[in-house]
């Protein structure tokens, strides 16, 4: 594909099924995401949200249509995407610091520089950990951390190599409300310091409204985008904003969309 467009991630009439004969996991889907845009995807369970992330990151090929990232057709794993899931998946034999440094042992050119410039990289990881409130926990093992702390570390691991594209699949889904909202702010701060393109999958409509620039609502399986809602709220957003009328209106509007797709 040579047609140059200004969007960073683009899906053109993408459909996807896991194996032949299966029902579609994703139906004719079109998306245009700008560089540095924060996108949230909401929809009923099983509608293909995680599948969408796999498509964009190149972990799964589309059955039909084209996925473009940075104007290049995606034909295999993108090699530089940051990812975090509901399950923090930290490696139990590594300290928090070493877990965060894992991408540096894999991503080029860092993997070739890491040994010589270890101190520099450790410094970077420590700074990142401090920015999510994990200062002083660098040498602890994941099983010595609380669930929220593990999720912070997992977030650091997904960002340490400064990816242009971050995929988040319900990263805060397993956390209590206070920790979750604290992490919204942390994520927003990180993103405002260095705007990367984010696709956040979530079940939480308040989370989507708090964090995203654009919110996509998907229909139930076979998933299809039925609404793309611009978020009018100014940045930076803080907890106060969640009590304002525009915020609650937005959440209500999204909720009614979800109710409609579930009823359909």
């Amino acid at each position: 594909m040579t047609s140059v467009s200004k969007s960073f991630v683009e899906l053109n009439n993408v459909t996807m099924r896991y194996s032949e004969g299966d029902e579609l996991a994703l139906d004719t889907t079109n998306m245009k995401i700008n560089k540095g845009e924060f996108v949230a995807v909401v929809g009923p369970s099983g509608c293909g949200k995680s599948s969408l992330l796999k498509l964009v990151s190149g972990l799964m090929p589309p059955t039909d249509g084209i996925v473009l990232v940075d104007n290049k057709e995606v034909s295999g794993p993108l090699k530089i995407v940051g990812m975090a899931f509901q399950n923090p998946t930290l490696l139990p034999w590594r300290t928090t610091l070493d877990n965060v440094l894992l991408p540096m042992e894999i991503v080029k050119p860092h993997r070739n520089r890491l040994r010589k410039h270890r101190a520099e990289y450790e410094d970077r990881a420590r700074k990142l950990l401090a920015s999510v409130g994990l200062e002083g926990h660098e040498d602890k093992f994941p099983w010595e951390l609380s669930g929220g702390m593990q999720q912070r570390a997992s977030l650091c691991r997904s960002l340490i190599h400064e990816p242009d594209l971050l995929m988040l699949d319900e990263p805060f889904g397993a956390l209590d409300a206070f920790t979750r909202e604290e992490l919204w702010d942390i994520l927003q701060n990180l993103w405002m310091v260095r705007p990367f393109t984010v696709i956040l999958v979530t079940h939480d409509l308040r989370e989507a409204s708090y964090l995203a620039d654009t919110i996509y609502v998907m229909s139930k399986r076979p998933g299809k985008i039925i609404v793309a809602r611009e978020n009018p709220l100014p940045r930076p957003r803080d907890q106060e904003v969640t009590f304002t009328q525009p915020f609650t209106d937005l959440v209500h509007e999204l909720r009614s969309h979800i109710r409609d797709v579930r009823a359909a």
């Binding site: 972990l59 090699k79 034999w93 991503v107 190599h161």
Partner: protein
């Protein structure tokens, strides 16, 4: 608290001593003749009388066991790594492995004797054959249990299969590997004693066979005790190694 801990520490000794006391009592009460079942005290006394011979035979058994076990570790790790890291190799090797594991190894000893003569070599090979299987299975299992989400994280960073194997596969397989060593070392003992019993002129197995042909039952049981003690010692050594080397696996509770 402290009392409980002491009791836990003492319990294996208490159970062993109770077993021997019970055994001693039963033999004495029912007046069982020593050529059927000797008392433990008798076995220990006879064992002491023959301690030089027993020592010689036992060290030989230990030697064949350890050599066979060492080969099994190397072979088991290599094969387990291959089987665990490739679906194709797994499919190809699995029926062969299961089939081979189902063959009673004692049936192969005569074949080995035909090839290598009686003595040390068949014992080593039998110890090896009987003990590599759990190592292969455990290493392969450890390598193959990779959370799909973690795999996605790594692949989207551009990790090759080799990267994933080195960064996640092998460390994760370590507890499985060490757990299999405990089992494998005891099996290796079984293997070399079986082979010595069938075809050797040295080793604890041979000692017991020749003692029983002379109706020296106390010596046979002394041999059995020696094997049991060596087995327990080996098991404990690898148990300690396991606990030391993979502390994270005992503390953490991985969800997979």
């Amino acid at each position: 608290m402290n009392k409980k801990l002491n009791l836990r520490k003492a319990s294996p000794w208490l159970s062993a001593i109770s077993l021997f006391v019970l055994w001693e009592l039963i033999v004495r009460i029912f007046n069982i003749p020593p050529y059927v079942l000797p008392t433990p005290s008798e076995s220990v006394i006879v064992g002491w009388q023959f301690h030089e011979a027993i020592w010689m035979h036992a060290t030989h058994t230990l030697y064949t066991t350890l050599v066979g076990f060492a080969i099994a570790v190397v072979f088991g790790v290599v094969l387990g790594a291959l089987v665990g890291s490739s679906r194709t190799i797994y499919d190809a090797a699995n029926p062969l492995l299961v089939g081979f594991n189902s063959v009673p190894k004692v049936a192969l000893v005569p074949v080995l004797v035909m090839w290598f003569g009686i003595g040390t070599v068949p014992a080593i090979i039998t110890a090896f054959m009987i003990s590599f299987f759990p190592i292969v299975v455990n290493v392969a299992t450890g390598l193959a249990t990779l959370e799909p989400e973690l795999r996605d994280v790594l692949r989207s960073l551009g990790a090759t299969r080799k990267d994933i194997l080195i960064k996640v596969g092998f460390p994760r397989a370590m507890p499985y590997f060490f757990a299999s060593l405990k089992v494998a070392i005891t099996l290796a003992f079984v293997g070399s004693v079986i082979s010595e019993t069938v075809a050797s002129n040295v080793g604890v197995g041979y000692l017991m066979l020749s003692a029983s042909s002379k109706f020296n039952m106390p010596l046979v049981f002394a041999g059995l005790l020696v094997i049991a003690v060596m087995g327990i010692a080996m098991y404990e050594i690898f148990n300690v190694i396991e606990r030391r080397s993979t502390k994270w696996a005992n503390r953490a509770n991985p969800t997979n």
